[in-house]
């Protein structure tokens, strides 16, 4: 794998499969009584969050801690960031502290690229969501979740529904799932599909009802009101009309094939893009997505950090070719 994870486009099919296989091992670790491996002992992971995101930060924090890394949480509020310190100065500070990996969430598209490519830091950079660009670990956890339920992703039909324009989750999933051989269809009102979407490796549709019967997975996206207002607003006439045309309720869910999955990256707006009964139904794997998120982030941190030249003397205990090794014992 490369040194950074900035975009799903960075992942070849083999890279992606390696992450998913490693995730399976990490997930097995979570089922053990002691959920900890010493693999990243002595390494420092910084969670640099410029945007509020409790769930993603906690997920990365849990992932790093289960691998025994030291974790520093650096949040925009209550730190020098709110005093106007720049991304560059923050990066230089982190570098001076010796961070091995920086997990960054930022409101500006491309901020992780800047961090990785401007020579400000030498650490690995993991994109935990940047503006309306990408959120690659979300896509990996979604792919993992699909694979766990439906097996091979090759040939699976995935509908990604809703505010595609403002969704980093949609971008990362469209790229990753296509790389893995899925047939992706983006379903949205025309106002919420990006200009140039015809060049993406996906199909598009304005008609949710026509797409549902042909979908093995239906991934609902949150309607991002805050970003809509920034770009002029008025993307659809009313919440009621949006919900009527693009919301997933029990009636619509009934059109889906029997074993089809319902997914949502969270946070959900119940009653808007998804009805409460669908979110809580047995088709929904929304809660499991969160669990898998920790395992996928463990796999990403492990793969990015355990092989790098600045690794500690210690041999990583959780090597992918020794799945029988019990990390819990090694930690003892």
């Amino acid at each position: 794998m490369r040194r950074h994870l900035l975009s799903s486009a960075d992942l070849t099919r083999d890279d992606a499969l390696l992450v998913l296989d490693t995730t399976a091992e990490m997930r097995a670790l979570a089922d053990r009584p002691i959920k900890k491996s010493p693999a990243l002992r002595g390494r420092t992971v910084v969670n640099l969050f410029f945007e509020d995101s409790t769930r993603t930060r906690i997920s990365f924090e849990a992932a790093a801690k289960r691998l025994s890394a030291d974790v520093i949480n650096f949040a925009a509020k209550g730190s020098s960031l709110s005093k106007g310190e720049s991304l560059k100065d923050t990066a230089l500070t982190l570098e001076a502290m010796g961070a091995d990996a920086v997990v960054i969430r930022h409101g500006a598209s491309g901020a992780p690229h800047r961090l990785a490519n401007s020579g400000w830091v030498n650490s690995s950079v993991v994109n935990a969501g940047d503006g309306t660009h990408e959120h690659p670990t979300q896509a990996l956890l979604d792919a993992f979740t699909i694979r766990r339920h439906l097996g091979d992703i090759d040939g699976r039909r995935v509908a990604i529904v809703g505010d595609v324009l403002h969704s980093r989750v949609a971008r990362s999933n469209a790229l990753l799932l296509s790389t893995l051989g899925a047939e992706v269809t983006l379903v949205a009102p025309p106002t919420l599909l990006p200009v140039g979407v015809e060049s993406w490796p996906v199909a598009t549709s304005y008609d949710l009802d026509a797409t549902l019967p042909k979908s093995d997975v239906v991934m609902m996206l949150r309607v991002q009101r805050e970003r809509m207002n920034l770009s002029g607003g008025g993307f659809f006439p009313s919440a009621r009309e949006y919900s009527r045309r693009y919301g997933l309720d029990a009636r619509r869910m009934a059109q889906m094939p029997d074993d089809a999955l319902v997914m949502h990256p969270g946070p959900m707006i119940r009653g808007m893009e998804i009805s409460a009964d669908v979110a809580d139904s047995d088709r929904s794997v929304i809660v499991e997505q969160v669990t898998n998120g920790v395992a996928v982030r463990m796999a990403v941190l492990y793969l990015l950090l355990s092989g790098s030249s600045t690794a500690t003397q210690e041999t990583p205990q959780l090597a992918t070719d020794h799945p029988e090794t019990d990390p819990a014992e090694a930690d003892a």
């Binding site: 720049s86 991304l87 560059k88 930022h106 409101g107 500006a108 598209s109 491309g110 901020a111 690229h113 800047r114 490519n117 401007s118 940047d130 503006g131 309306t132 660009h133 990408e134 980093r168 971008r171 990006p194 200009v195 140039g196 979407v197 060049s199 993406w200 920034l230 770009s231 002029g232």
Partner: protein, 428 residues
């Protein structure tokens, strides 16, 4: 005042000729035997052009002297072969009164590197609400003739109509930054395939083209002179061509960066490529070059926009718009227009000296290389090639998008009314 005898310069790229510069004017052209007391300058293999005139320069003074001053900006201009620049109005305070434009004008005179012709704001504080005192600026010592809210579009159709009409009283021109504001709220880059992939909010071509179309129709309706700043799309070229065909008194400029660079560069997320209007597609670049070659676009203007490093060493959406360009402009024009065969050097002299001086009504500039004209002359070595080094500049700012590119051409000497401002590539 020193008399100079310039030997064997290729006049507008033509045959080697001697030029005699005496008392600030071109005293003689041709095969000149000798001239008593004249300092001889060997210009073999150098091309002689009239001093360049920039219709669109941000000198930042007053207000942002950390980015540029009138002195450093005009020094950069001299190094780029310019003998006149139009200083844009978006300073702090805004150049919307006679006092501010006179200050900028005077600073230019004191520096002596380049004529500084201030551009006046169209509206008070560039706020798009109420006309600034255009007449007072026109009547001031600065003699303002070009008015622009550059950076902001005069989007209100009535206000634009009034401005176009009003400046007729003193032969002024309104230079429009064409950008429909509602279509470009928080826009970051050209809207197209890449903006969708990169997650950067799009700046659609139509937001420029719609305003240009409207303003051409307005200018024709009220019989006024209109200038379009930094045209950036193929559609804009089409509209200007159509308007000129109908007899509309419209002129247009294109920047060097829009003649060379494309939106592909945004994939780096490096804000040195962030500019307004944004870099467009390859097809737009081709159309702009064609438009400049056939005269649809009247002139090249730099939109030199210096910014301190902290305004660019950040994430894309937080960064300032703009690029420096005075010292690379002629090289980019050589690369994109001359070396491609689209324009000869006489054409460059027309688009980069005569036409902009005419649009700006600068009587002493853009008069060409002829006996009796003010000795505003630039001598360039078209065979030189150099990688662009951001540090090699007289500007206070380093935000060049051409870093590392190898560009042709080098300014060797610049004369402002017979006085060398640059000699052997060095500022005087």
């Amino acid at each position: 005042m020193t008399t100079y005898l310039i030997r064997q310069a290729d006049l507008l790229g033509g045959a080697p000729t001697d030029l005699l510069v005496r008392d600030g004017v071109i005293a003689d052209i041709g095969d000149i035997g000798s001239s008593a007391g004249a300092e001889e300058l060997d210009a073999t293999d150098l091309v002689a052009l009239p001093g360049l005139v920039d219709l669109h320069t941000h000198l930042r003074e007053p207000g942002r002297e950390d980015a540029e001053t009138v002195l450093t900006g005009t020094q950069a201009a001299a190094r780029g072969g310019f003998t006149a620049v139009h200083a844009m109005a978006n300073t702090d305070p805004v150049a919307d009164t006679a006092g501010v434009v006179e200050q900028v004008w005077r600073l230019g005179r004191e520096g002596g590197y380049c004529d500084v012709q201030p551009v006046g704001a169209v509206t008070v504080g560039l706020s798009g609400q109420q006309l600034a005192e255009l007449g007072a600026m026109a009547d001031s010592a600065a003699g303002v003739r070009v008015f622009s809210d550059d950076g902001r579009c005069v989007s209100d159709a009535v206000l634009m109509r009034r401005a176009l009409e009003y400046v007729k009283a003193f032969d002024g021109v309104v230079a429009q930054h064409a950008q429909e504001p509602r279509l470009t709220e928080d826009a970051q880059m050209n809207e197209g395939e890449l903006s969708g992939v990169l997650g950067l909010r799009g700046w659609p071509a139509v937001a420029e083209e719609a305003v240009i179309a409207r303003d051409c129709l307005l200018a024709a309706h009220v019989g006024s002179r209109l200038h379009i700043c930094h045209v950036s799309t193929a559609g804009s070229v089409e509209i200007v061509r159509w308007a000129k065909g109908r007899g509309c008194n419209v002129t247009a400029e294109v920047t060097p960066h829009h003649l060379l660079l494309t939106d592909e560069l945004a994939t780096t997320y490096d804000p040195v490529y962030k500019v307004n209007p944004p870099l467009r597609t390859r097809a737009d670049v081709e159309a702009l070059r064609e438009g400049l070659a056939d005269g649809t676009i009247d002139c090249v203007a730099t939109d030199h926009a210096p910014h301190p490093s902290e305004d660019k060493a950040c994430e894309w959406s937080a960064a300032a718009f703009g690029m420096v360009g005075l010292e690379t402009a002629l090289s980019v024009v050589q690369q994109t227009m001359v070396d491609t065969g689209l324009l000869d050097w006489a054409g460059v002299a027309d688009r980069f000296s005569r036409r902009p001086a005419e649009i700006g009504r600068l009587g002493s500039q853009g008069r060409g290389l002829q006996i009796g004209a003010p000795a505003n002359i630039v001598l360039i070595d078209p065979a030189a090639r150099r990688p662009v080094d951001p540090g090699d500049t007289a500007s206070l700012s380093r935000n060049t998008p051409f870093e590392g590119l190898e560009l042709p051409g080098r300014v060797v000497h610049t004369f402002l009314r017979g006085v060398p401002t640059v000699a052997d590539g060095k500022l005087q």
